[in-house]
């Protein structure tokens, strides 16, 4: 229960954050606590129970997460925010994309920074200046904007060839429309800041041309056409139906009837883009087959990394990880940890349901 609601009024918020946090912490097997001093502030802390991660599991997670934007490496950003912890969080997100970040607390100090380093390489790759709305100062903003434009015109060599963009971080889009239309702010991101928002912002900053990506809606057909899919199911009716459905969307389908056969086909290097794997099969079930396939992939990756194996024909794939999707009529079984533990990427219901198939497949083959 908040002592008074003026904070909510000034900064927004529904007042249920603490309840949500407590619930999350409870679910993580921990306890939440706080220390508070009226007129000074509060410090919140929590404990949680974690298990030791499996070796290599972090790699697996990052592989799924990593948007791989080599074009961002070496770029620089300036974060203007007077709340140091919040600024550090923004910095963290940017660094994940390979961007170098400097933090300063006011627009005024940002202007000093720019004039101090104006002829140095420090500002060569400055692509975006992020300003938190709390730190926005209308008067200084024009000065800042002009200084940024000058950075590029005074002969400094730069890979960008255009002035750094100003991106405003605010609570809602509505608020700063006037700033955007005045041409001072180039981009607006709502908080909490998300990776996807930062990516879009940088893509615009470097003049990313591929608009097609963003605007074209995609269908199962556009996702699956030409993709090599392996279907593994010991039941011939299920195999035929799965094959029919995938072929309808343009996929090139190979069917096998056992976990063992799946191993043979998915031993790297191979041509398959994804595998749909039945879970319950005699002799070797879907879990075991997946475990063994991941094993084969890890061994192969190790050999490539150590230089013992030349990538050769598999050069198109730097790191083998074939998406394996469980097919199951029993969703409860599939959402079980065992699916993820043995290395499966996701599951789809059996028989296929179009909407679910689409959203699952889109994760691995992108959206257009």
């Amino acid at each position: 229960m908040q002592a008074d609601s003026s904070t909510s009024r000034t900064y927004g918020g529904t007042g249920i954050g603490l309840s949500i946090s407590k619930r999350l912490v409870d679910l993580m097997g921990g306890e939440i606590g706080f220390f508070s001093e009226p007129g000074r502030g509060s410090t919140f802390s929590f404990t949680a129970a974690f298990t030791r991660g499996e070796e290599g599991s972090l790699e697996h997670k990052w592989k799924q997460y990593d948007p791989a934007f080599p074009e961002f490496r070496g770029l620089r950003a300036l974060v203007i925010d007077d709340k140091s912890i919040r600024a550090v969080v923004t910095k963290y997100h940017l660094q994940r994309l390979g961007i170098c970040v400097n933090i300063t607390s006011t627009m005024h100090s940002a202007c000093s920074y720019l004039s101090n380093y104006s002829n140095t390489s420090a500002l060569e790759h400055l692509a975006v200046v992020f300003v938190d709305q709390d730190s926005w100062d209308k008067e200084t903003s024009l000065t800042l904007s002009n200084m940024l434009k000058e950075l590029r015109t005074n002969g400094s060599t730069t890979t960008l060839g255009k002035p750094p963009k100003i991106c405003l971080l605010c609570m809602s889009f509505m608020e700063k429309d006037d700033l955007k239309s005045a041409g001072i702010v180039d981009h607006v991101l709502t908080k909490p800041v998300r990776l996807s928002g930062l990516i879009t912002c940088f893509q615009e900053a470097i003049g990313y041309q591929n608009k097609k990506r963003v605007t074209q809606p995609s269908t199962l057909g556009s996702l699956l056409t030409g993709k090599h899919i392996l279907v593994v199911d010991d039941n011939n009716v299920n195999r035929r139906v799965a094959e029919g459905a995938l072929k309808k969307y343009g996929a090139i389908v190979t069917c096998v009837d056992s976990g063992k056969a799946a191993l043979t086909h998915l031993n790297p290097p191979h041509n398959f883009d994804a595998c749909f794997m039945d879970l319950q099969m005699p002799e070797m079930d879907g879990f075991e087959a997946t475990r063994q396939i991941r094993n084969l992939e890890n061994k192969y990756n190790e050999k490539v990394d150590s230089g013992a194996l030349l990538p050769g024909m598999s050069a198109r794939v730097a790191h083998w990880h074939t998406p394996i999707l469980a097919m199951t009529a029993d969703v409860i079984q599939a959402t079980n940890e065992e699916c993820m533990k043995c290395g499966m990427d996701d599951y789809v219901s059996k028989p296929f349901e179009k909407g679910q198939l689409y959203s699952t497949v889109a994760r691995f083959f992108g959206s257009g």
Partner: protein, 151 residues
């Protein structure tokens, strides 16, 4: 019978199969997968289903006839049957499988045998219905008509 009449009978028959629960939405899905590059898809899959089911029903009969019934084996067969009937949209057959699996878990021979009896009946019914449907299709084609798409 002239084409128009045949087509109407076909549409009505198909509608009744859905209404009475013999077939479900999955069967419609199969029909949608059929196209010029795959003109006999439905017949193909259904034929596979017939073969598969008859084999499984025989296996089930034998398994339940043993002096020491291996309920795990029985359950495995029922699981297969559930999967394939689900894939073709044979709803009533699929629905018999869940109680059957429960009986396997309880290791009750009596109830298992009754489930087997029921599932055999449902299977024969849907087989009959589908064969009638395919015959109607053939008659329409023979009379020079097109098979109506039923939503």
């Amino acid at each position: 019978m002239e084409v128009g009449q045949l087509q109407r009978s076909f549409v009505e028959y198909m509608a009744s199969l859905f209404r009475e629960g013999f077939l479900d939405a999955q069967f419609s899905q199969l029909q949608q997968l059929q196209d010029d590059s795959n003109p006999d898809f439905v017949v193909e899959v259904v034929s596979l289903f017939f073969e598969d089911s008859e084999r499984l029903l025989n296996d089930l009969t034998m398994a339940l006839d043993q002096p020491n019934v291996d309920f795990k084996q029985v359950d495995a067969h029922v699981h297969q049957l559930k999967g394939s009937s689900s894939s073709v949209g044979a709803q009533r057959v699929k629905n018999c499988c869940v109680p059957f699996r429960n009986c396997c878990e309880e290791q009750n021979i009596e109830t298992c045998l009754r489930c087997l009896q029921q599932i055999k009946q449902e299977y024969l019914l849907v087989k009959n219905k589908l064969q009638t449907l395919f015959e109607l299709e053939q008659q329409i084609v023979a009379a020079g008509g097109a098979i109506p798409m039923v939503q």
